[in-house]
């Protein structure tokens, strides 16, 4: 059944954070102020690559209203940050490697004074030759950006011998695919408030996807114990991976420390563009061969990822891409070689889909091309080579066995949209202008969740009957819009029987939440679900046990309900099924809070392949597009998404994640590219960086969740945060080919490619409307 409000019934709930959001009452961390606060700004390098020979801050320091000007000399601890490997300077010492590199920071009474102070800081640069092409970066001629060279990370995977394999192929397709430097474009730019309290502790109010990671990194930079830092990190006005890494926090913390005043940051959009992360632009070359029947024989892939000047999670993104260019298909011979390469372009890093978006666009494109050579239906070719539930994963690792691949394929191929394929003259087509063509295409995704083998991936949380009788659910996961609070509330109501009013959810404060790992990699809902599974028997034993002491009934006859404790056999009769003791009364009798905690790790494969996943979400997407051959513009008319991710925890959230993810994929396919030239951003704001508006979303989106899991599967809901953003682009490419017979290899799709060659003929048609 398609997912919508009507079909979801009472399970479609208003979000607990909704009323404040729609009324404009929710205070985001960038809305906060404090008495006596100063405004912070960062001086960034105007050059993509240069040596710093001198920094003079005296004039800026002398300006009235300036309270501090800091440089690398003022960083007491490690002058580096980076989640996986700290190689990015907080404040550059002697060299800048991109136009976002920070050289100095200022705290002043007003924004105007802070900006004037930046203009008064004198930095002498000696320009250095730049590396703007990732392949050139790997040559001996290229300037070396780091002591270890320009290669951040290489990841390969081999099986058999592709040379032998290609010799026996009946058909081989070779193609090179290019993907854009996509920007997260969270509507709330980076910022926050930084305060050292009277107790000497630092409180950071700034969005992040992993408060404890920020705490660790900031402690390292400030050279203070982690216990002296509190990170308050929710709510967040969008992130999509982009706020996972530190951004303004080091500067806010350092300036607050130097001035002993609260310091506020709120990046302008241009500041956000120049300094912030983007999706890795990738060049993916694939050579794929099949036998005469369409069986895959050999698949050779080379990935070049432009990771920009510093690491952040560039290596991990590459690992993910290498895994996903293999995907759900079975090959005899495999040779995948991936390179994540330093350049003087903008920072690349973690972004919803995490390397899967680029990989799957390329991989699915190969199937469409091979099918044509074989004279086969492209979906038949996929099914012929599709993994079976018991097959090993892409890295030959054991994975959780499900029917997901077949389920989404069956659902997609029986969708009305896919059934329409090949049939012309639908009502919609008849109304179309003569210079438009429509087509239908589809693509498949098997997307990993969790951080993968070899990376610490903890989960956990806490349930407490608080002193005031509220049931407190305490987790370290962050709310950046995905609806995590709503999903947690819904699980507590549906699984435990609490009423919404009984519950208090506490997240986003490192002083009070247990460390349950990051809110990334489509993992939070899975981790919260598993936590509640673990906590339920513990919490029942603790709280029902306390209740039993006070109401003279054995604990095993008691259950949680709305407002308090009930008898299990209370029956449906309202007279007998009454609340025996309310939560506040029970809490009062207990005196102390009753608390249960769980700690565990995200399920991981029994493998030694770093990054290999154990849990996957499957999706099959069909799309109908209209290509305007006069303008070359593509319009998406209808989308169908089948998603096998286990039980739907929160229908509104699920639908929103798939619809929202697909919008990011739409931009990736059609319009979005943070263009760089000579290491400088050409697209500096949303006037030239084009994210989809409501006008690009004219079509319908049908979402079909497939909830069924094998009976023995106890991993619960799989992640859905990313999968919606990866499958649409290759489906659009297939649909364009169906419409106009042109193969797309580069995203975003250049309209010129799709303009009809016989332009004059079309123009005549346009004029005469024949």
């Amino acid at each position: 059944m398609l997912l919508n409000r009507q079909g979801s019934g009472a399970r479609w709930r208003n979000r607990p954070d909704g009323p404040d959001k729609v009324m404009g009452k929710l205070a985001y961390l960038t809305d906060m102020t404090a008495p006596d606060m100063l405004i912070g700004r960062v001086l960034r390098s105007p050059h993509p690559h240069a040596r710093i020979t001198a920094i003079r801050t005296e004039k800026a320091e002398e300006l009235d209203g300036v309270h501090a000007v800091i440089t690398h000399k003022d960083v007491p601890g490690l002058n580096r940050y980076g989640i996986a490997q700290p190689d990015q300077p907080v404040l550059c010492e002697d060299r800048v490697r991109y136009v976002g590199d920070a050289v100095a920071a200022v705290a002043a009474d007003t924004l105007e004074i802070a900006e004037q102070a930046l203009r008064l800081i004198e930095v002498d640069y000696e320009l250095l030759p730049i590396v703007e092409d990732a392949e050139y970066a790997l040559t001996d001629d290229a300037p070396q950006l780091h002591t270890q060279g320009n290669l951040l990370h290489r990841k390969d995977f081999k099986r058999g011998d592709v040379a032998v394999g290609f010799d026996s192929c009946a058909h081989v397709v070779e193609e090179t695919y290019y993907t854009p430097r996509q920007m997260h474009t969270y509507m709330e730019t980076e910022g926050g408030l930084f305060i050292f309290g009277e107790d000497g502790r630092l409180t950071v109010y700034a969005p992040t996807q992993h408060g404890f990671m920020d705490r660790m990194q900031l402690a390292r930079i400030l050279a203070i114990p982690q216990s002296e830092i509190r990170i308050v990190s929710s709510p967040i006005g969008g992130s999509f991976g982009g706020k996972d890494e530190l951004n303004v926090q080091p500067y806010g913390a350092l300036l607050a420390r130097v001035t002993n005043r609260p310091v506020k940051f709120h990046n302008s959009r241009w500041e956000s563009v120049r300094a912030g992360l983007k999706r890795h632009p990738m060049k993916i070359t694939m050579k794929t061969g099949v036998d005469g029947n369409g069986r895959l024989i050999a698949h050779q892939v080379r990935i070049i990822a432009d990771t920009g000047p510093y690491a952040t999670l560039g290596a991990e993104v590459l690992n993910f891409a290498v895994e996903h260019v293999i995907g759900p298909y079975q090959y005899q011979h495999l040779d995948v070689d991936g390179f994540s390469v330093y350049t003087n372009n903008g920072m690349s890093g973690e972004f919803r889909g995490f390397g899967g978006n680029q990989a799957i666009f390329a991989l699915e494109g190969q199937f469409d091309r091979l099918a044509e050579k074989l004279g086969m239906d492209p979906w038949e070719l996929r099914l012929l080579n599709m993994r079976k539930p018991e097959d090993l994963g892409p890295f030959d690792q054991p994975i959780a066995s499900t029917e997901g691949a077949k389920q989404v394929s069956d659902a997609m191929t029986s969708s009305t949209l896919w059934q329409e394929r090949g049939k012309s003259n639908t009502a919609e087509d008849e109304q179309a202008e003569p210079w438009t063509r429509t087509g239908i295409g589809a693509a498949f995704t098997m997307h990993g969740a969790g951080l993968g083998f070899g990376i610490p991936d903890p989960g956990g949380g806490r349930l407490t009957l608080a002193r005031d009788g509220k049931i407190e659910a305490v987790f370290s996961y962050e709310e950046f819009g995905q609806g995590l609070i709503a999903s947690l509330e819904q699980m507590l109501i549906e699984q435990f029987g609490f009423a919404a009013e009984d519950i208090r959810i506490i997240i986003g404060d490192s002083d009070v939440v247990p460390d349950g790992g990051s809110t990334t990699a489509s993992r939070a809902t899975s981790m919260m679900w598993k936590s509640l599974q673990n906590l339920r028997p513990l919490f029942e034993e603790a709280v029902l046990g306390k209740a039993a002491e006070h109401i003279q009934l054995p604990a095993k006859q008691l259950r949680f309900g709305e407002g308090g404790i009930y008898r299990i056999d209370g029956g449906s009769d309202a007279l007998t099924d009454k609340c025996l003791i309310t939560y506040p009364d029970l809490a009062a009798l207990c005196g102390e809070p009753v608390s249960c905690t769980t700690q565990f790790n995200f399920p991981v494969s029994a493998t030694d392949k770093v990054g290999a996943h154990f849990l996957y979400t499957y999706s099959a997407v069909a799309v109908k597009v209209e290509v305007n051959q006069l303008t070359g513009r593509v319009r998406v008319l209808h989308q169908y998404h089948a998603v096998a991710a286990g039980p739907v925890i929160n229908p509104q959230g699920f639908l929103g994640q798939i619809e929202g993810g697909s919008s990011i994929a739409l931009g990736f396919a059609l319009t979005e590219d943070a263009v760089m030239s000579g290491g400088q951003y050409v697209t500096k704001n949303l006037d030239t960086y084009l994210v989809p508006t409501i006008a690009e979303h004219r079509g319908t989106i049908d979402v079909q969740p497939i909830e069924e899991l094998p009976e023995s599967d106890n991993y619960g809901p799989r992640g859905i945060g990313e999968v919606g953003s990866v499958t649409l682009a290759p489906a659009i490419a297939a649909a364009i080919y169906d419409a106009v017979g042109i193969r797309v290899t580069k995203l975003p799709i250049d309209p010129e490619l799709l303009q009809a060659e016989s332009f004059d003929t079309l123009l005549d048609k346009a004029v005469t409307r024949e």
Partner: protein
């Protein structure tokens, strides 16, 4: 030299009378200051959001005499004698049906674009209670939402149109 010919420092303030959410007020701010900054920084009304600063994203939208404008592109002097309505004004007497529709249909996720989006919908429906799909598209194409893919927003607008119709019919019956 006449007073009006004297060069003015961009930081000199002047008194600008206007109405904000029904209350008459004299703003003492530099005339060229952005309305967005006046609202957020001087008046601590942070429901109006800052995002692109160039009038492209709509997060900062307010109504000036009922017309939706980007407050990042509106200078304080342009508000002289005008009536400004922000999201706080719409919320002042409880949840507007448009806001309730957004809540029930899931027309938001992170919520950062939502105040501006609600302003645009309100301005649209106040002038055109039964807009076509194209008119809705045009009215909202200056409001970028990065989270929802606009599905929930479109459903919320339809719901709000229905409710306002019902309310109107119940009054006129």
């Amino acid at each position: 030299m006449k007073d009006s010919m004297k060069p003015v420092s961009p930081l000199d303030t002047s008194s600008i009378p206007c109405t904000i959410n029904g209350s008459e007020i004299n703003l003492n701010v530099p005339p060229a200051k952005r309305l967005l900054s006046v609202l957020r920084d001087d008046l601590a009304m942070t429901g109006t959001k800052r995002s692109c600063d160039i009038g492209r994203c709509g997060a900062c939208m307010v109504m000036v005499d009922g017309v939706p404008v980007n407050s990042c592109l509106t200078m304080a002097y342009q508000c002289t004698g005008k009536s400004i309505t922000t999201i706080e004004g719409i919320s002042a007497s409880g949840m507007d049906p448009i806001q309730r529709a957004f809540l029930q249909e899931g027309g938001f996720q992170c919520g950062y674009c939502t105040p501006g989006m609600i302003i645009s919908v309100k301005a649209l429906l106040d002038h055109n209670p039964d807009p076509s799909a194209l008119e809705i598209e045009e009215a909202l194409s200056g409001n970028i939402c990065r989270c929802t893919g606009y599905g929930g927003i479109k459903r919320a607008v339809q719901k709000a149109i229905e409710w306002r119709k019902e309310a109107y019919e119940s009054i006129t019956d």
